[in-house]
Amino acid sequence: MSYSEKLLDHYENPRNVGSLDKGDPDVGTGLVGAPACGDVMKLQIKVNGEGVIEDAKFKTFGCGSAIASSSLVTEWVKGKTVDEALTIKNTDVANELNLPPVKIHCSVLAEDAIKAAVADWQKKHGLAPTVKPDTVQGDRAALLERGVLKSGI
């Protein structure tokens, strides 16, 4: 499969790989996808007092397109307000990276990761979720309680 130069650049030099402190009240974590599907994306955002995303980090298990899509959205969300971040659509990601048709689901996952991260941050602040992401993975608190998550993510 041949990929665009932008995609290859994000794959070979991924931006913002890593983790933020999940316990920080200003950090929202989204974890979407499933190992059985071959894609799991973790996106974390750090939101300041003005509601602006000042940092973003990702870790992704998935193909080159999934890694590039997550890298791209970490760049895009930085400096945006959470509401602005929620306007990023999977089609924007797919167009920017020129994803082949079979890889469109990678961009969908990236959009969902933003929604999930924002929802997590909103929850921490007692805010009603703007968007109820349909792929947000189970409640972290509940998972911790059940002992599935020992130290959280």
């Binding site: 794959y11 190992p35 059985a36 973790k42 298990f61 193909c63 349909d134």
Partner: protein, 404 residues
């Protein structure tokens, strides 16, 4: 060392120089049609075709009259499976195969199902091998054909074909064996294994593409319904003007396999083990897919947990390998072969098939080990799953929100 490095010998092999040399005169000089019985051009072509037939027969313990030329193993599989099923349908319409067979066999079987045949698709064990007792139990009075491959194209796992042949012979059922991946690498003898039909491909054994053969037993005689009608070439089994240069190439490739196969297998096995041990020394959470003991020498199919196969292939783009990841297939489903072995979907997504062969060097293996170890580590640093596992999370207990 030349870059890129080729480690995909199951997909195809380069034509051996000696094979190419043997073929060349048959394009422009000895260009005759082997079916032209009336002049010297035809006689020369026929002579070359018959001597190649002898060579291919010799490699598998057959006689020359039992070799039918085809365009490749896909055609051989189609001819064997459909040809036998259709010819013997008055005797019965039940066929048996295995879930990890090549698509050429599986899809031929599916086509027959649409024609009213009944097919049993046998499960394999966790190590990828067929337990012969499963076959024994599946046979019925109306079973006419069993089709089981010798070595699997993804895992290199070798089935117990001698035992399978004993069962089919005792039951009076015909045994077709897709022998493509084993030929020239591990011993294959149609007498020792009681094989009645066998598919062979030239390009998997350093011969040209577009060239194959089907072994069809004469004693006791196996009959087939031809799938290609026309001039009645190949004793009516397969019409069409013979690909003389291709046949000459396949004959030469068979000769080389017969003379050098054993020594080559030993050398390639040592390289494969060097690769395996190198990877295992450098990485944790690595699993070999399929039996290691019953495997063709050049195959290493491994899963690097928490790293997706296509991402790894992109990271080692100067090394040609293949993956069981869904991302490499149009279907978005991970390898059906690995799934049939009970390997979880996530590990199937993480699988890489290394195929070593005649021209693989120790230097290449060492380079690949270094590269793969470094890239897997890098990708694991980026993997949320690896991070979670290292944090003590039991991934199997998580309810992933969006399965597919």
């Amino acid at each position: 060392m030349k870059i890129p490095i080729y480690m995909d010998y199951h997909a195809t092999t380069p034509v051996d120089r000696r094979v190419l040399e043997a073929m060349l005169p048959y394009f422009s000089e000895q260009f005759g049609n082997a079916a032209s019985k009336s002049h010297v051009f035809g006689w020369h072509a026929e002579e070359a075709v018959e001597s190649a037939r002898e060579e291919v027969a010799k490699l598998i313990g057959a006689s020359a009259k039992e070799i039918v030329w085809t365009s490749g193993a896909t055609e051989s599989d189609n001819l064997a499976v459909k040809g036998v099923a259709q010819f013997y349908q008055s005797k019965g319409k039940h066929l048996v195969t295995c879930k990890t067979e090549h698509k050429a066999v599986l899809d031929s079987m599916h086509a027959l199902e649409r024609q009213g045949f009944e097919v049993t698709f046998l499960d394999v064990e966790k190590d990828g091998r067929l337990d012969p007792s499963r076959l024994q139990a599946a046979l019925r009075k109306d079973t006419t054909l069993v089709s089981i491959m010798h070595a699997n194209n993804e895992t290199g796992v070798v089935h117990p074909i001698a035992e399978i042949g004993r069962i089919t012979r005792a039951a009076g059922v015909l045994f077709h064996c897709d022998a493509v991946q084993g030929i020239g690498k591990i011993p294959f003898d149609v007498e020792a294994a009681n094989v009645d039909l066998a598919s062979i491909s030239a390009h998997k054994m350093y011969g040209p593409k577009g060239m194959g053969a089907l072994y069809v037993r004469r004693k006791p005689r196996v009959r087939l319904t031809a799938q290609m009608d026309g001039g009645g070439h190949e004793r009516g089994f397969r019409s069409g003007t013979l690909n003389v240069p291709g046949i000459v190439g396949m004959g030469k490739a068979a000769e080389l396999a017969r003379l050098e196969g054993a020594a080559e297998a030993e050398r390639v096995l040592a390289l494969r083990e060097r690769l395996r041990k190198g990877l295992q020394a450098g990485l944790d959470l690595l699993t070999v897919n399929g039996s290691l003991a019953h495997r063709v020498p050049g195959n290493l199919n491994v899963s690097f947990a928490y790293v997706e196969g296509e991402a790894l292939m992109m990271a080692i783009k100067d090394v040609a390998v293949s993956s069981g990841s869904a991302c490499t297939s149009a279907s978005l489903e991970p390898s059906y072969v690995l799934r049939a072995m009970g390997i979880s979907e996530d590990l199937a997504h993480s699988s890489i098939r290394f195929g070593l062969g005649r021209f693989t060097t120790e230097e290449e293996v060492d380079h690949v080990v270094r590269l793969v170890v470094a890239k897997v580590k890098k990708l694991r640093e980026m993997s949320p799953l690896y991070e979670m596992v290292k944090d003590g999370v039991d991934l199997s207990q998580i309810e992933w929100a969006n399965p597919h």
